[in-house]
């Protein structure tokens, strides 16, 4: 439990602090490495990394949306054939969850491979 919370917090911090300077696929590698180092279980690695990544992306998007009060999310939603811009917000969160989750799972499973060898 402790490990999964730790993983969650580090992933959140990394997406927040490194995110602005690196494309998302660098973050994915980062999540995998963190998950490898923290060593939580498979399920909790997936869930913690996924939630950490996805919720941060959602929070960032929501923050920008509220702060700017821009028409853009609505325009983008329409452009992408979505009915409303909330779906775009959830879409961003879901995508964040998936790439965070699978990266975390990859890191965790890689560690399991090494653990058996030891």
């Amino acid at each position: 439990m402790k490990k999964s919370l730790l993983l969650f917090v580090i992933v959140v911090l990394m997406v927040l602090l490194v995110g602005p300077y690196a494309p998302y696929w660098i973050l994915m590698i980062g999540v995998a490495i963190i998950s490898f180092l923290v060593g939580a279980g498979k399920v909790s690695s997936f869930v913690s990394s996924g939630l950490g990544f996805g919720l941060t992306w959602m929070a960032l998007s929501l923050f920008i949306s509220i702060k700017t009060d821009s028409e853009l999310p609505k325009r983008m939603a329409e452009l992408m054939g979505l009915e409303n811009d909330n779906l775009l917000l959830f879409g961003t969160a879901l995508l964040g969850f998936l790439i965070g989750g699978f990266s975390g799972l990859t890191g965790s499973m890689l560690r399991k491979l090494f653990e058996r060898k030891n």
């Binding site: 995110g19 602005p20 494309p23 998302y24 696929w25 994915m28 995998a32 992306w57 960032l60 998007s61 920008i64 949306s65 702060k67 700017t68 009060d69 821009s70 028409e71 853009l72 999310p73 609505k74 325009r75 983008m76 939603a77 329409e78 452009l79 775009l88 879409g91 961003t92 995508l95 998936l98 790439i99 699978f102 990266s103 799972l105 990859t106 499973m109 890689l110 399991k112 491979l113 058996r116």
Partner: protein
């Protein structure tokens, strides 16, 4: 098992990482786009939320201050011109980078690189018209002959490029993110391409269509229905003007054997008719304050990001403000402390076609003046997104590029039509604007105009000294009567242009007695002008309405001029509708149902205005279209392009000769007359209107014409504004039709206490996420303006923010 499990998960992760960064068909790279740190979310910031107080800009000789007003209009305060244009480049790119690049890509025939194979046909046409060739020619000319201009254009390019280099992934304009490509380096060449893009947008010709028409209806009928001058000619330069020069001689060759074969090529799309720009200036004698007032509203296709970008450009010696074209230097339509100027399109047939006879299929030699002359080849490589390049070979003769041939828009092997166009000539239009920007009086204005070649414009002028003037400026070929109206014989030197009309002989006027100058795309002159002048698309309505109004107005204020720009009086309807109602058969009228009677009564009571809430303009428009089609559609033959008589000549014919044989369609057994066609088209109109009432519920003018301001990528519907509530229409001073309208409206009062007002349909920002993307649109639709008077650094009371550029 663990290994397989790991491998499986690893591959999913890798697959996610890669696939989310790729574009599939028209689906953009989702991962990159949704990433809140770099994707579209980052484009949500308006410019005032995210600005720099200081910026480093290399190659500046001194500090430059940029102050933005509440509408995000930048006011650049620089020491000298080089610093000024360097910063203009930077600032323009900051707000309009994607647009300026996209437009030059369009001019270079490179849209396929961005959107894929669907644009190949478009790109081929652009390249065959020789726009890139023209820009290259101009670049070489300017480098050699006008190093002072070149230096400034280079400084502008440097400014644009320093902005591009400073861009990070998050700041990239949204269109790049969606279409998944990156901006390339800007250059002087691209600024010139932009000016060619304008020429292409504004210049058309109907030579091939006229050739078919002449074969079909004969020269006599052609002269009757398509006269060079209309009965009620109300030209740009007042008809009373005495031409005080000795014209160059040009005589019509004895035997002009025009090639007379029918032409079956799919001709290029032409500028839409009825796009209506206006400009005028009234002298102090007609204004309340005693100062001259100048007004300009150039009309173009309504697009977002807006075509124009408003700026004030100040150096220690001059201050100028008005509308810029992103990509070009200086102000295009605007004013400084001393003078104001504006532009409307001066259409004239400056594009001609020559039928070329090649020696053999290799097309390396063509016949000219009884000898074989070598042609040149230009290989056009059109890069296509997602597939290999498309190669096109364009053959050039001394006339110009062979646009239509066996490889392009023609099935016949012997079709080789070469295009000769003034836009291909060496020219430096940029210099005209650089000089106008710092002009002080009428002499400076004339000097500036002497550098202007294409697209020909009616340049209106007013000065603090009290002068008003108008000049039709372009480089106009010297032609014999009728030359170039039809496809010409490329091997006969008689068909060559005989030189050019000297600038001093171009139509112009200074302080005419009537106290105003004006233009609205109509004929430049009265028939007394000693040179042959022809174009297919001259305006017949806005000019007369404008001149009538200016004639009767006095004690004029800026407010009056704004109202005139927004004038919704439908002159064509006021002349045609009484005739049409007269022609309606009384027995036909007695048989009308309730709907028919309702429409008829509405039309009878109409005040001929076209306000957005009125229903009568819709009824008239539908009826007129049906009637026009009813009269002329019999001439249309599939695959053989022609032009139909315009609404002015058609109305004249209905009025003066309702019994003329021409109304009869020989294909039908009964005999059609103006009367029968008026009645049948009225019935058709009633049926159409019933349908519209049923489906749309509302047939008010605004809802029927559906004025739309579309993003430059037509698929980006949500970045566009469809169905903007506004009045006007083609042929009306407020010429706002479905897709065209005033792209910029400006009213300037000269002299002490003079004020300036401007508006355009969009906003200063090119970013659809910014509140400045379309904040001016509603004001524009309502006929409102924002204050664009000159400001000094000290006089700024409510600036949005300020950026200081330092070396």
């Amino acid at each position: 098992m663990k290994y397989i499990g790991f491998l499986f998960v690893f591959l999913i992760t890798l697959g996610l990482a890669i696939s989310l960064s790729l574009q599939f068909g028209s689906v953009p790279p989702i991962g990159k786009l949704l990433d809140p740190n770099h994707g579209f979310w980052q484009n949500s910031y308006s410019e005032d939320m995210d600005f720099e107080e200081e910026l480093d800009l290399k190659n500046l000789s001194n500090k430059v201050k940029v102050i933005y007003d509440e509408n995000l209009i930048p006011h650049i305060f620089a020491d000298n011109e080089k610093d000024l244009y360097r910063v203009q480049g930077y600032i323009t790119a900051k707000h309009r980078l994607w647009q300026m690049e996209f437009q030059t890509m369009a001019a270079a025939g490179r849209i396929s690189e961005i959107v894929g194979p669907m644009a190949i046909e478009l790109d081929r046409m652009t390249r065959r018209k020789g726009l890139a060739f023209a820009a290259e020619t101009s670049l070489q000319y300017i480098q050699k002959e006008h190093p002072d201009t070149y230096e400034l254009v280079e400084a502008y390019a440097d400014g644009v490029n320093q902005y591009i280099e400073s861009l990070n992934a998050a700041e990239l304009p949204i269109e790049y993110k969606i279409l998944d490509y990156k901006p390339e380096t800007w250059s002087a060449y691209k600024s010139l391409l932009l000016l060619k893009y304008m020429a292409d947008m504004l210049v058309g010709d109907r030579d091939l269509e006229y050739t078919n028409l002449r074969n079909q209806i004969g020269q006599e009928m052609l002269d009757k229905l398509y006269p060079d001058f209309p009965e009620e000619n109300d030209p740009v330069i007042e008809a009373e003007r005495i031409w005080d020069f000795v014209p160059l001689e040009v005589s019509k060759p004895d035997s002009t054997g025009y090639p007379d074969a029918d032409i079956f090529v799919n001709t290029m799309p032409q500028p839409v008719e009825g796009i209506g720009s206006n400009n005028w200036a009234v002298s102090g004698a007609k204004t309340k304050s005693g100062n001259p007032i100048l007004a300009n509203d150039p009309h173009l296709s309504l697009n977002l990001p807006s075509l124009w970008y408003v700026m004030q450009l100040s150096t220690s010696s001059h201050s100028v403000k008005g509308a810029t074209l992103p990509g070009a230097l200086g102000i295009i339509s605007g004013f400084n402390q001393d003078i104001a100027w504006g532009v409307t399109n001066a259409t004239r047939d400056t594009r001609d076609w020559y039928a070329i006879q090649f020696r053999d299929e290799s097309r390396t030699e063509y016949l000219y003046d009884e000898v074989w002359v070598k042609s040149t080849f230009r290989i056009e490589e059109i890069k296509v997104k997602g597939q290999g390049s498309f190669m096109d070979t364009v053959v050039y003769t001394h006339h110009g590029p062979v646009v239509y041939d066996k490889n392009f828009r023609s099935d016949r092997k012997d079709v080789n039509f070469s295009l000769k166009w003034t836009a291909h000539l060496e020219s430096n239009e940029q210099k005209t604007f650089l000089l106008l920007n710092k002009g002080k009086n009428h002499v400076d204005y004339i000097n500036a105009l002497n550098h202007y070649t294409s697209p020909a414009q009616n340049f209106v002028f007013a000065s603090k000294d009290g002068d008003i003037a108008m000049k039709v400026q372009g480089r106009f070929p010297l032609k014999w009567e009728g030359q170039g109206k039809f496809l010409m014989d490329g091997k006969n030197p008689d068909f060559e242009w005989k030189g050019f009309i000297p600038n001093e002989h171009n139509p112009s006027t200074l302080n005419p007695v009537r106290g105003f100058v004006s233009s609205a795309n109509q004929h430049s002159v009265d028939p007394s002008y000693p040179y042959y002048m022809f174009d297919h698309s001259f305006e017949h309505y806005r000019n007369r309405r404008l001149n009538n109004r200016l004639e009767e107005m006095s004690q004029i204020t800026s407010k009056d001029m704004m109202a005139l720009q927004f004038d919704n009086f439908h002159l064509h309807a006021s002349e045609a509708l009484p005739v049409m109602l007269d022609l309606l058969d009384s027995t036909e009228v007695s048989r009308l149902d309730d709907f028919g009677n309702k429409y008829l009564n509405q039309l009878k009571k109409w005040n001929f205005n076209a306000f957005p809430n009125q229903e009568e303009p819709t009824l008239f428009h539908v009826w007129w279209e049906k009637l026009h089609q009813g009269i002329w559609s019999k001439w249309k033959i599939e695959g053989r392009p022609i032009v139909l008589p315009n609404k002015y000549q058609t109305t004249k014919l209905l009025l003066n000769e309702p019994e003329n044989e021409i109304f009869d369609n020989p294909e039908t057994t009964e005999k059609e007359t103006a009367r029968s066609l008026a009645s049948s088209s009225f019935s058709e109109m009633v049926e159409t209107m019933k349908e519209i009432e049923k489906t749309e519920k509302d047939y008010s003018w605004a809802n029927y014409k559906k004025t739309s301001v579309l993003h430059l990528v037509p698929n980006f519907k949500s970045f566009s504004h469809i169905n903007v509530y506004t009045g006007g229409g083609a042929g009306i001073l407020n010429a706002t039709s479905e897709r065209n309208g005033a792209s910029w409206r400006m009213v300037v009062e000269m002299g002490e206490g003079g004020e300036a007002f401007g508006i355009y349909p969009g906003g200063q920002s090119g970013n659809p996420g910014s509140k400045y993307y379309d904040n001016l649109l509603k004001k524009w639709a309502n006929g409102e303006y924002v204050d664009v008077s000159l400001k000094s650094e000290e006089s700024f009371s409510n600036s949005l923010f300020t950026t200081l550029f330092k070396n």
